[in-house]
């Protein structure tokens, strides 16, 4: 009996061993899918490869999950649909699925974050109870979609403790949830509970990694939206003591600005009063402890451009279609020491009350959304009484 069990285990191992499978017959189709390129290049070959892969049984699931490690977003989607197609078909047919290997793939934090989340979902279908036991351990997981599950549990637990009048326990639980949370909706939920139910002071800008201290200069012209493509002096030199000719020939100079907004909003209308058809620039420096990969994440409902260490990262000429935290994610490579960030924000001619905003919010974080803080980060400014702001834009 023992011998036959061992044989069965060995047989299963042999059947599902990723090391063996990676060099097997599907390496060709996998390579083909990895070749899918821009504008549909390689689609035809990928479709044939997809058909090849999905003709296999459960033995192809692990190699597909593993291949996601080196895949870009499009090949990863081809692979995902192949994994799920095979998995669902085999599950419905009552086939033996490589549950323990899928579980091992989930818990191995070196694997690709989205692939791990997918594997977790698959594992939950074959072993829901055990999948549930994995969740608490994901509270510091580098895969944001997995971490989310653990944070959600803590929020539920903290809420229940609040309802039961266990304030101290709830505070500890929700503090852990806030430390771990990376998704905006979860951070908002926890912050609201901590502030409103438990009277806590929170430094959300630091939690998110918003950059709060800037130098601003404005207004330059943006009549007929021409400012977006016009090169004004801050795009060619950063000299914070210089004066330049701005809109209508008026002299403009850099001025210091500090945001106290929970979500790091940098509001040009505050120092310059509401203006229309204008362009402004914001400049700041970020001292990094090390050279590393990072992301600049921006929210802005005005047309904008961003330069990082003097290089144009991206620009977008859309006005007043909405703004949210992390609206745009721009990969960067931080240098050790000083890095520079220049933001151009253009305000257009619209006069509806929802087009007054001339602002942006910008944070630095890693790919999971974890804040990266400057070594010389200044304290977050205290909030003062909100200043009255005119609602009618001046021309």
């Amino acid at each position: 009996m023992k011998a036959s069990s061992a044989l069965l285990a060995a047989s299963l191992c042999l059947t599902f061993s990723p090391a063996l499978l990676s060099s097997a017959e599907w390496s060709g189709p996998l390579q083909q899918i990895l070749k899918v390129g821009p504008e549909g290049a390689g689609n035809t070959e990928a479709a044939a490869a997809w058909a090849d892969l999905t003709a296999h049984g459960p033995e192809v699931i692990l190699p597909l999950l593993e291949a996601m490690e080196t895949a870009g977003p499009i090949p990863r989607n081809w692979m995902r649909s192949a994994v799920e197609t095979v998995f669902e078909r085999e599950l419905a047919a009552g086939a033996t699925l490589p549950a323990s290997q899928i579980r091992a793939f989930v818990v191995d934090r070196k694997n690709e974050p989205n692939a791990r989340r997918l594997a977790f979902d698959l594992y939950g279908k074959v072993s829901p109870a055990d999948a549930g036991t994995l969740i608490p351990g994901m509270i510091d997981d580098p895969s944001a979609p997995l971490r989310r599950e653990a944070v959600a549990r803590l929020i539920t637990e903290g809420n229940a403790q609040l309802d039961a009048g266990e304030k101290e326990q709830s505070l500890a639980t929700l503090d852990r949830a806030l430390d771990a949370a990376r998704d905006i909706d979860q951070i908002d939920t926890v912050a609201k509970l901590l502030r409103e139910k438990l009277g806590q002071q929170l430094d959300l800008p630091q939690h998110f990694g918003f950059l709060m201290h800037w130098h601003l200069i404005a207004p330059f012209d943006n009549t007929e939206r021409q400012g977006f493509d016009t090169v004004f002096p801050p795009e060619t030199e950063i000299n914070l003591s210089s004066a330049y000719e701005g809109k209508e020939g008026k002299s403009v100079t850099w001025q210091e600005y500090a945001s106290a907004d929970d979500y790091g909003k940098v509001d040009f209308n505050t120092p310059f009063s509401p203006l229309k058809q204008v362009t402004g620039y914001a400049y700041t420096e970020f001292t990094s402890a090390e050279a590393r990969e990072a992301e600049i994440r921006l929210g802005c409902k005005n047309a904008w451009k961003i330069w990082f260490n003097g290089e144009l990262l991206f620009g977008r000429d859309e006005y007043h279609r909405g703004q949210r935290i992390d609206q745009y994610s721009l990969p960067i490579k931080l240098k050790e020491g000083k890095n520079t960030i220049l933001v151009k924000a253009c305000q257009n001619e619209q006069e509806q009350d929802w087009t007054v905003q001339w602002e942006f919010q910008l944070r630095l974080c890693d790919s999971t959304g974890t804040a990266i803080l400057a070594t010389d980060r200044k304290p977050t400014p205290e909030k003062s009484a909100p200043a009255r702001r005119p609602t009618a834009p001046a021309q």
């Binding site: 549909g40 290049a41 035809t44 989607n77 649909s81 799920e84 197609t85 991206f314 006005y319």
Partner: protein
């Protein structure tokens, strides 16, 4: 004998692959215009009695269902930022889920809270399904869920997005899938090869957010696809993107035009009727009625009548030839979805509050003959197929059938 076999095989192949009359292949069905003259039977009643089935849906979505080869297809988006894209297939007969494919969004998923990432309706050529999302992911699957091709249009064209959300639905015309990816920044329309997803053509469009969908005109047996936008309507040869006609003067960017034969009824300065010229070029204005303003719902042409619903929920019938008003009546709105109709002189419309209505068009004036409250927000347009009506909310897909 050999010849007969071939003929039979060809006939069977054609029968298998050609879209059946019962199919509803894209947003607003035939010609993307909401009226299916071949739909002889349509439900006479929306009620518990005619509710054939109700199927749960994941996440959010407001693109319509389409019906192809005995299957119903619908898209959805789920997750905290709607980054999980779903393509779902159900059996027409009982609503049983047949398959589901999921993808990660590769483009931006930001959208106004009223709309969502699964706003465009998928399209089909009867053999394959083409699902477009607001994230600019364009996915082709066969009817059994096998992946045929994918495009990640935001990776190809990084500024092609709308922070309020895109909603234009693609359409298959001949051998080309036509889509409008129109926005304030990198705005374009394109024709995609049905088998490979490669661009057959791509042209710049006005830098202006636009939620309208293409419609199809016909001139001497040739299809002309009409792209509506802030600057008017552009008629193109679908397979090449070559321009055929241009209607200047601007047009709405929310309700789409309705096409019927060589005429198009454009939400422009109220409602404007145009007829194509001799060779399809130089369309001439037939009439314009500045007071007949479609709201969010697109107009509908049935025979000699044009129907429109304004933002106050007033359904108006005007004469196709003159634009003269025949009647108007208030129905229960507000509406985000558009009306559809089959051959039975009944108009079907669902309002945002979940109220579905059938308006009898056979009398002197329109009359609501059936009404149902589904209890969920409905922002979508119904689909008609084989005597049945399909409508979806975020959470459910319903089929009503019978009592013709």
């Amino acid at each position: 004998m050999h010849f007969s076999r071939l003929t039979l095989a060809s006939a069977l192949l054609f029968a298998t692959v050609a879209p059946a009359h019962a199919d509803w292949l894209n947003f607003r069905g035939p010609q993307g215009s909401g009226f299916d003259s071949a739909a002889a039977k349509t439900p006479a009643e929306l009620s518990e009695k005619t509710l054939a089935w109700k199927a749960p849906l994941p996440g959010r979505g407001l693109g319509s269902a389409i019906v192809v080869g005995g299957k119903v297809f619908v898209t959805a988006a789920s997750g905290p930022e709607q980054q999980q894209l779903h393509v779902l297939c159900f059996a027409v007969s009982d609503g049983a889920p047949l398959w589901e494919r999921r993808f990660w969004a590769t483009g931006r998923t930001m959208a106004h809270s009223k709309t969502n990432v699964a706003a465009p309706t998928p399209a089909s050529d009867g053999k394959r399904l083409y699902a477009l999302f607001s994230s600019n992911d364009l996915i082709c699957l066969d009817l059994d869920g096998n992946l045929v091709w994918m495009r990640a249009l935001t990776l190809d064209y990084p500024n092609a997005s709308n922070s309020l959300g895109l909603a234009s639905s693609p359409i298959v015309v001949g051998d080309t899938l036509v889509a409008q990816i129109e926005n304030d920044s990198e705005s374009f329309a394109a024709g995609f090869d049905l088998l490979t997803g490669i661009n057959k053509w791509k042209l710049d469009r006005p830098k202006s957010a636009n939620w309208t969908s293409p419609t199809v005109l016909e001139k001497d047996g040739e299809a002309i696809v009409a792209l509506q936008g802030s600057d008017g309507v552009l008629g193109l040869v679908p397979s090449t993107g070559s321009p055929v006609f241009k209607v200047e003067g601007g047009a709405s960017t929310i309700p789409s035009s309705a096409a019927s034969g060589d005429q198009i009824f454009i939400p422009s300065n109220g409602l404007t009727a145009m007829r194509l010229g001799e060779s399809g070029e130089s369309p001439e204005k037939v009439w314009n009625e500045p007071n007949e303003r479609p709201g969010t719902a697109s107009p509908l042409v049935i025979g000699e009548k044009v129907y429109l619903i304004n933002n106050a929920g007033v359904l108006t019938c005007v004469d196709r030839g003159t634009g003269a008003r025949s009647w108007r009546t208030r129905i229960e709105g507000p509406f985000s979805g558009s009306p559809v109709a089959g051959a039975g002189e009944r108009l079907f419309i669902f309002g945002e509050t979940g109220i579905g209505q059938i308006v009898d068009l056979s009398g002197e004036e329109g009359k609501v003959i059936s009404r149902i409250e589904l209890g969920e927000t409905i922002l979508s347009t119904p689909a008609l197929s084989d005597g049945a009506l399909y409508i979806r909310s975020d959470g459910h897909l319903w089929k009503f059938s019978g009592e013709w």
